[in-house]
Symmetry: C2
Subunit: 234 residues, 2 copies
């Protein structure tokens, strides 16, 4: 990286989508300044200025230019520092199309269903949502088999785009499991995804930037207590 | 394109998202077999087999391998036939990130809001939705100014990724305007987008594959009459 380059990341420590950017920057050995955003206070002037459309983290600021939306940032990092570190997207266009297709499935369909299932008060809606989450995992199990081609990651030998996308949610899933006993991953149903999840979380690059499960568990518990107490007051 | 290559496109003639793929294939001068899918009958075995997750067109089939989701297909076409015709995504990673950001805005936010505003029976919800559509267009006007850099298209001198994404909806907007008098584009508010829309629809590549506005207008009218009569019977 040229000495004149300036890289900053606006994030929150517990955010799965911010974690994606941290992993990508680490894979490419990019040094950067990290700015913690307090999303529970009022949003910073900087965030509102840099991401006026969504007002969300992560925002990557590279030489004063902002890039928003986590997977968009990961692609930007891969293309900007294409000669530093491993390629994050696969080499072949068809494999790239598969990685983009399944990462969009995770973000647009699978994870929103999972969130809806965790927050609903209706037992019936929860059961229906959790069933859909399980069905999504079966699809992801098949996707893993076809994309990994017998290697440990969706990206093959190394952590790639789809690993970063899905893997970024693993700490959240494990924290919910500890806190609420919700079991998302089941070895008898999706053995490959379960094995992959262990591989991902014990990967050196990932371990270095992933938030601690204990800390995230405590955070989710406190956050829920806070929002429930606010709701009961209103 | 090698003589052994086989390219097929599964689509419906009126679909804006199928149009995206047709434009991309035309830009790259790729010959292909087109298979019309009847989405109002039962979905074909082929569609269910090739896109089991969403069961939607378009599906591109390249040497027997399916690729789904329109913008994913457009990127696949750009990367697969990277030496045929113009590049569809911009060259510079930052410009590519902008194109991906704004195309996701169109697909995830702007167009769904527009569709919701056109189908709602509530006048209040319609007014609110149309206001949001207008606000989205103001954002797209700014995006156009920064991306086009004084040239006729988002992609500069030539039709590019974001032109294909947003432009694919223009015939639908014009058809709705004829049929219902809904005015989406307003020269006094978004002059650059209005000028761009005319440029896009009179572009030689686009003209060659875009469905006729009259035909789409008739189709939407018949489709609405059919769904309303079905609804009133139930």
């Amino acid at each position: 990286m040229g000495e004149t380059e300036e890289v900053k990341l606006l994030g929150t420590w517990y955010s799965p989508v911010v974690l994606r950017v941290k992993i990508a920057l680490r894979l490419k050995s990019i040094n950067y300044d990290y700015i913690e955003e307090d999303l529970f206070g009022s949003k910073s002037e900087l965030l509102l200025k840099l991401n006026p459309v969504y007002k969300k983290v992560p925002v990557l600021i590279h030489n004063n230019k902002p890039v928003s939306e986590s997977l968009n940032i990961v692609e930007y990092i891969d293309e900007t520092w294409n000669s530093s570190g491993p390629s994050i997207l696969p080499y072949h266009p068809y494999d790239r199309a598969l990685a983009r297709f399944w990462s969009a499935f995770v973000d647009d369909k699978w994870f929103p269903t999972l969130i809806a299932a965790t927050v609903t008060k209706s037992e019936e809606a929860k059961a229906k949502g959790m069933k859909e989450v399980g069905e999504g995992l079966l699809l992801l199990e098949d996707a893993f088999v076809s994309m990994s081609k017998g290697k440990p990651f969706f990206g093959g030998e190394a952590v790639g785009f789809m690993d970063i996308c899905l893997g970024s949610f693993l700490v959240f899933l494990k924290a919910r499991e500890r806190l609420k006993g919700e079991k998302f991953l089941d070895e008898s149903k999706t053995p490959c995804i379960c094995k992959w999840a262990d591989e991902f979380l014990s990967n050196d690059t990932v371990k270095n930037v992933v938030p601690q499960i204990d800390k995230v568990t405590k955070f989710i518990g406190e956050f829920e207590a806070k929002t429930q107490s606010t709701a009961s007051k209103s």
